[in-house]
Symmetry: C2
Subunit: 308 residues, 2 copies
């Protein structure tokens, strides 16, 4: 999985950080591309990235603040203008559909493709052939969500050597065994897939959290995640201010990651007040929880496949 | 007057031309700043210009297509975030208010300043102490306007030499004469302001037209204008395509400028299909009507004061 950080700033754009957006590319799923949040000028950032609007088929909105949604109407219009005809589904809090429809209607924007808007609130919202997505409610100044992507395990590798030693030649039988099915051979022998499959390749778990003060429920939601992407609008020590505005500090995000035993934490939604303190911010993050990174605009982070 | 071309592209942003927006700065009016159209990422372009959101007190929207309005909600929110408390008035076609309110409401955007939205259709819409603004309906695929800014003439210079030769000394009398009033002196003499004032300094006329196929009414509306800013979405020779989509070619815009005896024509709303033909485009424009310019993003054009 590749994570393309398109906008990593908080509230308003600056010359170095645009407002929120993150694209996820599933390298093994025919390049499926999902977008998380779509602040103003996300389509401009996409032009500077390897992600194409027409390839994005799902958009997830963590919450309805302007710096997370004002880029949606332009993104949708441009996706159509560029010739996309495949459907797109947008998931987000109640109110999302009214905003999108008002924007498209007033501007007489015709989309060549089907637009599906799903207002979500909690629990499992998607179950595709390669991943499940669940929603957790956070605590911000308005409804805000974390999304968890849980990849499905991949079947183990078929033990071809073992099959050959039993004089079973490649063919449709192999396909069935690969799926874990049982097969009766022409000579009457019955083979069970599980006896010829190596261990499953476990799926990865990624949690992408919207704006929020630290919430205890996120610890269980992100338990043992391979990657947690969390906001850090304030530096450590400014918890009182942060929580008053429904935000987190670096220390808050690190505490969650540590309690959840997350393997990698990446911080985003960085306030423009820290533009002169980038290096200190990065050092503070790395010390707060091992290996924690602070995202920059156009950073591409690759999450490796798990060992079998 | 300074014209800051913030976005000069048509329909969708490209890496070199953003979608439509133009800021006008009135150098002699305490730096009053107006904005014409506000496509997505106009606030990003403002960061790269000398224009500040907080100083803009009027916004004019030529029409409601997304590439002219999707930057409004973010611009308004950022203007508040940056601390502006002075009112702003937005003028545009019917439907504008519903879009702005839907966007601000869904995102729970609170503005520290008063927002006034005026839906206009034709005729004189503003009469300030230094300029009048009128609207003309154009012909596009939805309501589209041209705005004409007509500066008021400035009073002539007071002939101080002549007054001194009549033994009239500087003081309140001078102020009254400067305003063109009549004054009775202590010795009984009566002086008439007009007899001591040089010629008035005529105001400038600027027309900023939205997307449109060429319309005959624009010729009278822009008659003898000092500056006409007109779209040219297509190159000359592609009139059939242009008019079908409610747009103009370079030749169309030049014809209007010529018939109206406009002193300077600047073309904008340039299609990204011409990104490799910039030089040819500029040459074609210059030949189509004397001195015609093709705007680029962040171009600043200064319109000189008129001779008395």
């Amino acid at each position: 999985m590749e994570f393309h950080f398109l906008g990593t700033g908080a509230g308003v754009p600056s010359l170095t950080r645009n407002v929120s957006s993150l694209a996820v590319r599933f390298l093994q799923q025919k390049g499926a591309q999902w977008l998380f949040d779509c602040g103003e000028a996300t389509q401009h950032q996409l032009m500077r990235s390897a992600i194409s609007p027409s390839r994005i088929d799902r958009v997830f909105i963590t919450h309805l603040h302007g710096d997370h949604i004002y880029g949606l109407p332009g993104f949708l219009g441009t996706r159509s203008f560029q010739g996309a005809v495949t459907p797109i589904t947008i998931y987000g809090p109640p109110g999302l559909e009214a905003f999108i429809q008002a924007s498209l209607n007033v501007s007489a924007t015709y989309l060549r493709y089907e637009l599906i808007i799903v207002e979500v609130e909690h629990g499992l919202i998607i179950d595709t052939d390669f991943a499940e997505v669940s929603v957790l409610a956070l605590q911000h100044t308005l409804d805000s969500f974390a999304f968890r992507i849980k990849e499905k395990p991949k079947p183990g590798i078929l033990d071809v050597e073992k099959l050959r030693s039993l004089n079973v030649e490649p063919g449709p039988v192999y396909q069935k065994l690969k799926q874990g099915e049982s097969v009766e051979l022409a000579d009457g022998r019955i083979l069970h897939g599980q006896e010829f499959l190596g261990p499953e390749k476990p799926g990865r778990v990624v949690v992408i959290a919207g704006d929020s003060k630290p919430v205890i429920e996120l610890i269980a939601f992100a338990e043992s995640a391979d990657l947690l992407i969390h906001e850090a609008t304030f530096r450590s020590g400014r918890e009182v201010d942060a929580h008053e505005f429904g935000h987190s500090t670096i220390a808050d995000a690190a505490s969650i990651a540590k309690a959840a035993n997350v393997k990698q934490l990446i911080l985003t939604h960085i306030s423009s007040r820290y533009v002169m303190e980038e290096e200190e911010l990065k050092q503070e993050a790395a010390e707060a929880y091992e290996g924690t990174m602070v995202a920059n605009d156009l950073l591409v982070y690759t999450l490796q496949a798990k060992e079998r």
